[in-house]
């Protein structure tokens, strides 16, 4: 199970990675923004799950999602937005762009675990 975490905040990247490891995930890749994530995915070829922040420099999470969903190779990958954006219109915008789930920050390991279960993701 390959996971890609995309977030410009190092604390969030470290915490999310730690949670995922505790939940049994071992192959975790990291990117600091959408642009870097696209490069990494170009090399990796396939991932099973992408956790993406919204507000990032160079390419934000929403634009990343729109871009990645254009690629048939990534049209089915599970994508969850994880963000401090907590308004209904932002949630709807993200869903329209193609996210499978949406997790508001701050979140706990339990919240992350529940969201993974909702998406049918098992380590």
């Amino acid at each position: 199970m390959k996971v890609l975490i995309i977030d410009d905040a190092i604390t969030v990247r470290i915490m999310t990675q730690a949670f995922l490891k505790e939940l049994g995930f071992s192959e975790i890749h990291i990117a600091e923004n959408g642009m870097e994530a696209l490069e990494i995915l170009g090399h990796l070829g396939r991932v099973d799950l992408i956790l993406v922040d919204w507000n990032m420099p160079l390419m934000n999470g929403l634009d990343f999602v729109k871009e990645i969903r254009k690629d048939p190779q990534f049209s089915e990958v599970k994508i969850m937005m994880m963000t401090t954006e907590n308004s209904m219109d932002k949630i709807v915008t993200a869903m329209d762009a193609g996210v499978n789930e949406y997790m508001m920050k701050p979140f706990s390991k339990d919240i992350l675990a529940d969201k993974l279960q909702i998406m049918g993701i098992k380590q």
């Binding site: 308004s87 209904m88 949630i91 789930e101 919240i111 529940d114 279960q117 909702i118």
Partner: protein, 275 residues
């Protein structure tokens, strides 16, 4: 000054008498926390003075508040997910496919706390079985011992943490409105369940026989004789082909041999009464 042994014993006995809930040794921190909050609300300097007042005076109102404070329990939307998957993919379709005389469906969420369990059931049914909502005679009950929990459930306005945990995002978008006070559940879902107070160890009052009962993560608070008593009453409350859902770590097998586990590939803790 921390909680005295005599104070803990007094509260434990009060809870057992009023609700049959067993407060085990090691739970002193819970008494300090919950009664500390209540003491402040009631204008006491500490939980010690609150407990002293309880000992001195027979104040039914204060007793009820203490029981309420001690029995408020955590709940989540779509807790453990599997029971809801089973409900959606197997149980409800099978139930609806049976030859029907009355097109009736009765569901009871028997320890509903702040409402997330009954509302999860309601959203699942509303989303996936619209014909049931439109055409069937359904009676959905949600009960709890705690009036403060029931008030919260009836208001159905949840904070970010509560909707972030366990609730699939399509349900949030479809069935909630974002307000100043929080995430407010829409009327079409709220009105599907009738909320009322009920003490599982006392008289239940009239309710119809149930097709489905959710009694999840509440038996753990009772001693064995009380668990047996409640399960026996649940058997009486179920229709012959009805279903009882328990929490994922619970079983009635050693307590009531008249229940059998429903065989599912989802490993769901669901039981039926033996014929």
């Amino acid at each position: 000054m921390s909680l005295k042994a005599s104070e803990f014993e007094f509260i434990a006995q009060l809870l057992k008498r009023e609700s049959a809930i067993v407060l085990e040794a090691g739970k002193e921190y819970l008494v300090e926390l919950r009664l500390g909050t209540l003491a402040e609300k009631e204008g006491h300097s500490s939980y010690h003075s609150l407990i002293l007042e309880l000992i001195k005076k027979k104040d039914a109102g204060l007793v009820a508040k203490v029981v309420d404070a001690m029995t408020t329990n955590e709940t989540l939307f779509f807790r453990d997910l599997k029971p809801y998957d089973y409900l959606q993919k197997h149980l409800l379709p099978e139930l609806m496919a049976r030859p029907q005389q009355h097109y009736e469906l009765n569901i009871w969420s028997a320890a509903c706390s702040t409402g997330q369990e009954p509302y999860s059931i309601a959203m699942l049914i509303h989303q996936n079985f619209p014909n049931l909502v439109r055409q069937w005679n359904y009676q959905f009950y949600a009960t709890d011992l705690s009036n403060s929990c029931l008030d919260y459930a009836r208001a159905a306005v949840y904070n970010q943490f509560e909707v972030n945990r366990g609730l699939p995002i399509p349900y949030l978008v479809r069935y909630f409105a974002q307000t100043q006070e929080g995430w407010a559940l829409k009327e079409e879902i709220k009105r599907m369940f009738a909320f009322q107070q009920l003490n599982l160890i006392k008289e239940w009052g009239f309710m119809p026989k149930m097709d489905i009962i959710f009694l999840r993560n509440v038996l753990i608070y009772f001693d064995v004789p009380t668990k047996k008593e409640i399960l026996a009453k649940m058997r009486q409350q179920l229709k012959p082909d009805g279903y009882l859902f328990l929490g994922s770590a619970e079983t009635p097998i050693n307590l009531d041999p008249k229940f059998k586990r429903v065989d599912t590939d989802l490993n769901v803790n669901c039981y039926q009464v033996l014929p």
